[in-house]
């Protein structure tokens, strides 16, 4: 079972790596921001699997911290891209 957990963690990391190659190259900043999202989800998944396999204690808290901070990159981007004096970005709908 341990082997299975580790192997799945590896496969998830691999898919994340392949996704990162595609996403980090752009073309736009939006694509690049998705990289933070991709590694957030995939990284937490493989973190939990590795922890379950190796029996490291207290790893749930690390994953919890990562999950809390998963949206921070996008939030920081939106926050600094749209300064306060700019008109509120309309939805265009």
């Amino acid at each position: 079972m341990t082997e299975f957990l580790l192997a799945t963690a590896g496969v998830i990391l691999l898919t994340v790596a392949v996704g990162l190659v595609r996403i980090l190259s752009g073309p736009g900043d939006a694509d690049r921001l998705m990289a933070a999202q991709l590694i957030g989800t995939g990284g937490i998944g493989s973190l939990l699997l590795i922890a379950a396999a190796t029996g490291a204690r207290g790893v749930e808290d690390v994953a919890l911290g990562l999950a809390l901070l998963a949206a921070f990159a996008s939030a920081a981007f939106v926050n600094s891209a749209a300064p306060a004096e700019a008109p509120d970005v309309a939805d265009g709908r």
Partner: protein, 97 residues
């Protein structure tokens, strides 16, 4: 009993990995940023949910199990919000593309 648990974990985590794979395939194949965003946030979150589901019976305490569920819920929230924010950045061309 432990065989049943193992089988459950293998099926759930295996399905989770499949969705991670599907998400990456979507990233590679979809032509524009918005549909890539769609593939990424939907498929990967389902994948993480299934991985968490598979790990649930293996956690050693109720608190640990609750934490696992909380992790998944928080990632859901973060992904949904980030997808909204990034999607909006794609739409208003001034800041992206």
């Amino acid at each position: 009993m432990s065989l049943v648990v193992d089988l459950f974990s293998i099926v759930a985590i295996g399905a989770g990995v499949f969705f991670f794979l599907a998400g990456t395939v979507g990233l590679l194949r979809f032509p524009d940023a918005l549909s890539r965003l769609h593939a990424l946030t939907k498929a990967d979150n389902l994948g993480l949910g299934l991985v968490v589901l598979g790990l649930l019976p293996r956690s050693d305490s109720l608190l640990a199990a609750l934490k696992l569920v909380a992790i998944w819920a928080l990632v859901q929230l973060a992904s949904a919000t980030a997808a909204q924010l990034v999607g909006r950045a794609v739409r208003c061309k001034g800041t992206a593309v």
